[in-house]
């Protein structure tokens, strides 16, 4: 079956030569092609999770001691060329105490060590994250549960 013939007919247009004669090699078919001529949309599926989160109550943590009291450590992690998303050579990440290898990453002792970085704490859902240009490509690090 000639798809273009069916499509042209649905568009209600006809093509002629300059003298107004029909062109016999261009056909029009009122029989509809086996499937609908509808615009194929583009979408993808994700799973909608149940709403188990409470409305977040976010506070900014001001000192590194508060971060450590919650069981986390703030570190500067070097990035390779392929990992970089901006001109920065390092990123800032939170690690659970006792879980990171000390000799690999530089531990930050003050929040002022890195410009533009802040640490947010969600009191309602008990989670913590880093926010800023060095936190991740989207400007935010992942939420970590306490």
């Amino acid at each position: 079956m000639n798809f273009t013939a069916s499509y042209l007919d649905s568009k209600k247009k006809r093509i002629y030569d300059e003298l107004g004669n029909e062109i016999f090699t261009i056909g029009y078919d009122s029989l509809r092609y086996p499937f609908k001529i509808t615009k194929p949309c583009i979408s993808y599926n994700i799973l909608q999770t149940k709403e188990t989160e409470k409305t977040p109550i976010i506070t900014t943590i001001k000192t590194v001691k508060e971060i450590e009291d919650k069981g986390f450590i703030l570190c500067s992690v070097p990035l390779t060329k392929s990992q970089k998303w901006t001109n920065y050579n390092t990123m800032v990440a939170l690690f659970r105490k006792g879980s990171y290898p000390e000799h690999l990453y530089k531990r930050l002792t003050g929040l002022k060590d890195v410009a533009g970085i802040k640490v947010e704490y969600d009191e309602a859902n008990l989670r913590i994250r880093v926010v800023g240009p060095k936190a991740g490509p989207t400007g935010e690090g992942p939420w970590l549960l306490l």
């Binding site: 273009t4 209600k12 093509i15 056909g27 993808y44 599926n45």
Partner: protein
């Protein structure tokens, strides 16, 4: 079914209960996304659709869908790589979505391998159909109308043209007379006598009228017979080669588009534009044109027409994409191999097209042989496998790729590509959408239409 699941996702360790539960949840999540709600993992409420407004063309290993954004300024898109790596498939899928979702106009300007003959049929490759499900799409043909040059014989392509719409078109006689030095380059001194009769020639309606005017040429001195003979033979050659057609209405130089019912004329002019205005995609079949010595003049005529229509004609305000497969067969950075008129026409589009709604999508095996003007306007490159390192140097320089990316290009597999841009790509994953400069590596999404060389699998 258990064996199938194990085969797909590897063996599930039996002595680690937590790992087993997590793997099982992931397995169900993947099935739910493709097969439906009955496969939802425990605790999940429903499947949600996220729509994509940009043009996806690739998926990365971690499931990110990489897209080309729709911007007011149209940048050129290139698919570059060795033969059989997936360039035409990638370009074909981009064209599918440009046509159906962006509703832009498309013209295939050089189909030298007659690949587009099957584009008006749906994809029948099972592997490709499964890949299309990632973006919720299914096989769908494109409404193609094939334009054969007048020098072609449709009988030779009869097996491909069954159940297809096509038209044989010639170059208008006015175009030949206005550019006679390109169509008849060997006239020498006779040219000035011909140009003296230009106004009369433009009113000619038959070959007989043409030869009457030639016979009436008066050189005012010696060489009259030779001049008339030379002009007559030159025009006869053009007619015999099928390039010139004055009175044969079955090979029209112009097409007219009218609405059904009231028969109101919508457009009268260049065949490629007429087909686009009718809502279809013209494909200029150039498999035999490369052997013609007029190919430069013919290509440049059609490209210039399309550019003028976009600049101040019926296509003004509409977005038009011109697709070139194997662009180096049309233009070349080496002047000895290039077609100067066509290169000038394409340079026009390259420099002025992006703000006038016309741009190129092209596929090529040798990016370094593309003229610099076109390369400098190429904003998006989908880079496939290359054979040799020196072939990748120009791409890496133009798109600021490092040595590691260059090595990655050499190690790519079939249908794998690295996407690079001088602008940005849009990425989708989960419920997030973000911009990135790339480069990104992944597998291409195949087209919804059929591919001539990859049959049912």
């Amino acid at each position: 079914m258990v064996t199938l699941i194990k085969g797909l996702f590897g063996s599930i360790p039996r002595n680690n209960g937590l790992m087993q539960a997590k793997r099982y949840s992931v397995i169900n999540e993947n099935y739910a996304k493709t097969l439906g709600k009955s496969w939802l993992p425990v605790g999940e409420s429903e499947i949600r659709k996220c729509s994509i407004k940009d043009i996806p063309f690739m998926t990365t290993v971690d499931g990110t869908i990489v897209c080309i954004p729709k911007t007011p300024e149209m940048g050129m898109i290139a698919a570059i790589g060795m033969t059989g790596s997936g360039k035409t498939l990638c370009a074909g899928y981009i064209l599918d979505n440009v046509f159906w979702n962006w509703e832009d106009k498309i013209g295939v300007i050089n189909d030298s391998q007659e690949e587009t003959f099957v584009w008006s049929e749906s994809c029948d490759n099972n592997q490709f159909k499964n890949k299309l499900k990632i973006v919720d799409q299914s096989p769908c043909p494109l409404p193609m109308i094939y334009v054969l040059p007048s020098s072609d014989k449709p009988q030779e392509k009869e097996s491909f043209l069954i159940d297809k719409n096509y038209v044989c078109c010639s170059i208008p006689f006015e175009e030949v007379i206005n550019n006679v030095e390109y169509y008849l380059p060997d006239l020498g001194n006779s040219l000035k006598y011909l140009l003296g009769k230009k106004e009369q020639l433009l009113d000619v309606r038959t070959e007989d009228e043409l030869f009457e005017i030639i016979d009436a040429i008066d050189t005012g001195g010696s060489g009259l017979a030779e001049t008339r003979y030379k002009l007559r033979v030159s025009f006869l050659n053009l007619i015999n080669e099928g390039i010139l057609n004055i009175s044969n209405s079955s090979i029209p130089p112009y097409l007219v588009v009218k609405t059904t019912g009231d028969k109101k004329e919508v457009y009268n002019g260049n065949p490629l534009t007429a087909i686009m205005i009718a809502g279809c995609i013209p494909s200029f079949i150039t498999s035999n044109l490369y052997t013609q010595r007029y190919k430069d003049a013919i290509f440049s005529y059609y490209i210039n027409c399309l550019f003028q229509e976009s600049l101040n004609g019926i296509m003004k305000g509409k977005r038009t994409w011109l697709y070139f497969d194997e662009l180096t067969k049309v233009v070349h950075s080496d002047p000895r191999l290039s077609s100067p008129l066509t290169e000038k026409a394409l340079n026009n589009i390259a420099s002025r097209g992006r703000n006038n709604g016309i741009s190129l999508i092209y596929a090529t095996q040798r990016y370094n042989e593309i003229p610099r003007t076109i390369r400098s306007q190429t904003k998006y490159a989908v880079i496939f496998k290359h054979k040799q390192k020196d072939e990748t140097k120009t791409i890496c320089d133009d798109f600021f790729l490092d040595d590691k990316s260059r090595d990655n290009i050499l190690g790519l597999k079939k249908f794998e590509a690295i996407a690079a841009t001088t602008e940005y790509f849009i990425c989708y994953k989960g419920n997030k959408r973000w911009e990135t400069n790339g480069p990104l590596k992944g597998n291409i999404i195949p087209p919804m239409h059929k591919n001539r060389f990859l049959h049912r699998v």
